[in-house]
C-alpha cells in the first residue's frame, strides 16, 4: 500500500461518516467522498499528502456535496445551511479525533451493521464505507464479480434509505445486542482473510477496524476481547508456513511467533480478566493467550484452557465450541473421553471437516489406524481449502503407513 492508498483508507470512513451526518444520505456522502479522492489522486502525488488527509477530504467532499445538493431544487435550503456551517468550521485541521467525529464514525459503523440488513450486506457496507476499500477490492475480497458487489451495495443502501434505518449510536439498552452484530461482522471479515492466503489483507483490515472501535468505545470489554483474539492469532501466522500449508499448533516453530503481538494481546486479555465481564470473544482470547504463553507444546496449560472452554460453552453453546472443547479435553482426560464428546456433536457437524480431522487425530492416538485413516479421508473430502485437503490426505496416508508398520 502506498501513501496515497493508505491515506485513502484511513480518511474514507471518517469522511463518509461526517458527510452522511451532514446530508443524511449515505449514497450522496459516498459519491462526494469518491469525487474528493479523485481530486486527491491528482493532487497528492504532485503536492504531497496534506498534514490532515481526513480533514482535507471532508472539506473537499463537503464542497462537492453542497454543489450536488444545490442543483437539486429541494436541497437548496439544506445546502445553504451546510455551506455557512462550513465557513464557520474552516478547515477541520485537528490532528486527534474530536468528539463529533468520534460519534460520526460510530454512527456509520452501527448503521452499516444494522440487524435489519442481511449479513453479506453488513459486511459489504462495512468494508466499502467504513474501511474504505474500493468496490472492486470488496468484490475480490468476497470472490464475487464487481457487478454483483455493486448491486449488493446498491441494494443495501436502498434498504437503509427506504426503511429509514437511523443514523445514530444505539442507546445503552440496545447497545450490547447491536455491538454483538458489529463484532461478528468484524470477525467474519477477519476469518475470511485467515482462511485464504490471497485474502490476507482482510485480516489486517479487520484488525485495523477493531482497533479503531476500541479507541471509539474503550469501555466495551468484548471489543477489546476481539482485538486481543485477532492479535494473538496474527502472532502465530509466521509459523503456519509461507505457502499456506497447514502446520498444527504442536508442530509449529514457536520461535517464529511474533512476540510483540503476543505481548499486546496478553496485556489486553489480562485487562479483560481484571474487569470480570467476560463474554465469548474475551474467553476465546484468553484461551489463545494461554496457547501463546507456552514456550513448548508440552508446556501448554490444558487444565486452564479446559476451564475457559467450560465458561465459553456456558455462554456460547455452539457445536463448534463443543468441538474445540473436546480437543482440549483430550489433552487432560485422554482421547477416549474426547471421542465420546465428539459423538455428541457429530450429527450437527457431519459436514464440517475439522470434526473429522479431530476424530482422526484422537483415533490415531489410540492406535485405531483404519478408523483414523477413514476419518482423515472424510475430512479431506469436506475441506474447503486446498491446503486443508492436502494436509488431511497426508495424515490419512501417514496413518495407513503406521498401520502397515504394526502389521
Amino acid at each position: 500500500m502506498d501513501d496515497v492508498e493508505r491515506s485513502y483508507r484511513e480518511a474514507h470512513g471518517q469522511a463518509v461518516a461526517t458527510l452522511a451526518r451532514l446530508f443524511g444520505d449515505i449514497t450522496l456522502a459516498e459519491d462526494a467522498v469518491q469525487d474528493a479522492f479523485v481530486t486527491a489522486m491528482d493532487r497528492w502525488p504532485r503536492d504531497g499528502v496534506p498534514d490532515n488527509p481526513a480533514g482535507w477530504i471532508v472539506t473537499t467532499a463537503r464542497n462537492r456535496a453542497v454543489d450536488v445538493v444545490r442543483r437539486n431544487r429541494r436541497g437548496r435550503e439544506l445546502a445553504e445551511g451546510i455551506a455557512s456551517d462550513r465557513l464557520r468550521a474552516g478547515s477541520t485541521a485537528d490532528a486527534e479525533v474530536p468528539e463529533p467525529m468520534r460519534d460520526d464514525q460510530l454512527r456509520l459503523i452501527f448503521t452499516c451493521c444494522h440487524p435489519a440488513l442481511r449479513v453479506e450486506h453488513q459486511v459489504a457496507l462495512t468494508l466499502r464505507l467504513v474501511a474504505g476499500l474500493t468496490p472492486s477490492e470488496v468484490a475480490s475480497a468476497f470472490l464475487v464479480s464487481e457487478a454483483t458487489m455493486a448491486k449488493r451495495l446498491v441494494r443495501a443502501k436502498y434498504k437503509i434509505k427506504a426503511a429509514h434505518i437511523p443514523y445514530r449510536v444505539p442507546d445503552d439498552a440496545e447497545l450490547p445486542g447491536r455491538l454483538r452484530v458489529v463484532l461478528s461482522v468484524l470477525y467474519l471479515v477477519y476469518n475470511a482473510g485467515a482462511d485464504d492466503l490471497n485474502r490476507r489483507d482482510l485480516r489486517a483490515e479487520a484488525t485495523r477496524l477493531t482497533r479503531r472501535l476500541v479507541d471509539l468505545m474503550p469501555a466495551e470489554p468484548e471489543t477489546v476481547g476481539l482485538l486481543a483474539l485477532m492479535l494473538l492469532s496474527d502472532a502465530r501466522v509466521p509459523a503456519r508456513g509461507g505457502d499456506g500449508d497447514v502446520v498444527l499448533l504442536k508442530d509449529q516453530d514457536r520461535s517464529l511467533w511474533d512476540r510483540s503481538l503476543i505481548a499486546e494481546g496478553q496485556a489486553l486479555v489480562l485487562a479483560c480478566l481484571r474487569r470480570r465481564r467476560l463474554g465469548p470473544f474475551q474467553l476465546q482470547a484468553a484461551i489463545q493467550a494461554l496457547h501463546c504463553a507456552a514456550g513448548r507444546y508440552e508446556d501448554t496449560n490444558w487444565t486452564s484452557i479446559v476451564r475457559f472452554y467450560d465458561r465459553l460453552i456456558a455462554v456460547m453453546p455452539t457445536p463448534v465450541v463443543a468441538l474445540n472443547r473436546a480437543v482440549a479435553v483430550t489433552e487432560t482426560q485422554g482421547p477416549d473421553r474426547g471421542l465420546l464428546l465428539l459423538d455428541e456433536i457429530s450429527g450437527d457437524l457431519a459436514n464440517y471437516h475439522p470434526l473429522h480431522a479431530a476424530r482422526g487425530s484422537m483415533l490415531q492416538r489410540l492406535g485405531r489406524w483404519e478408523e483414523a485413516a477413514e476419518a482423515y479421508a472424510r475430512g479431506a473430502e469436506l475441506a474447503s481449502t486446498e491446503s486443508a485437503t492436502r494436509f488431511l490426505r497426508g495424515q490419512a496416508e501417514l496413518v495407513e503407513r503406521g498401520q502397515d508398520r504394526t502389521k
Binding site: A116, A162, A163, H164
Partner: protein
C-alpha cells in the same frame, strides 16, 4: 414521520388462545398495546383478518378479462392474520413497536416501510 406496515404472520394450526382465560389475557394485552400506540401518536390503523379459507383472488390485467377464484393467492403454511399501520420516526422506532406487538399477540411480525401513502394525486 414515516409510516410502516406491521404484518402479523400466523402459522397454520398455531396456538390461538383456546380457553376463555387465555382469550381474556390476550385481549387485555392487545388493548393495552393499542392504547399505548394511541397515546404515542403511533396508531394509524389496524385489524385482524379472517383466515385464508375466506380469501378470494381476482386475476387478469389492465384491459384483460377478470377471473375470480378461491384464494388464498399463495398457498403457504404462514399467512397474514392481521396488521397495523403505524407512524414511526425511523426503523428502530418501528422495530420497537414490532417487538411489543410480538410480545402481545405471540406471532411473528414483518415490518415494511411505506413508499407512499394516501391517495395518488395528479401532481405526483
Amino acid at each position: 414521520m414515516n409510516q410502516y406496515l406491521l404484518s402479523v404472520y400466523e402459522a397454520e394450526g398455531n396456538s390461538a388462545p383456546s380457553t376463555p382465560e387465555e382469550m381474556q389475557a390476550f385481549m387485555g394485552r392487545v388493548i393495552a398495546l393499542e392504547e399505548e400506540m394511541d397515546r404515542a401518536g403511533a396508531f394509524v390503523f389496524g385489524g385482524a383478518l379472517h383466515g385464508p379459507d375466506a380469501a378470494t383472488v381476482v386475476r387478469g390485467g389492465t384491459g384483460l378479462e377478470k377471473v375470480t377464484t378461491d384464494g388464498p393467492f399463495v398457498e403457504t403454511k404462514e399467512h397474514i392474520g392481521g396488521f397495523y399501520i403505524i407512524n414511526a420516526e425511523d426503523l428502530d422506532a418501528a422495530l420497537a413497536w414490532a417487538e411489543k406487538v410480538v410480545e402481545a399477540i405471540n406471532h411473528d411480525i414483518e415490518v415494511r416501510p411505506f413508499r407512499a401513502t394516501g391517495r395518488v394525486r395528479a401532481d405526483h
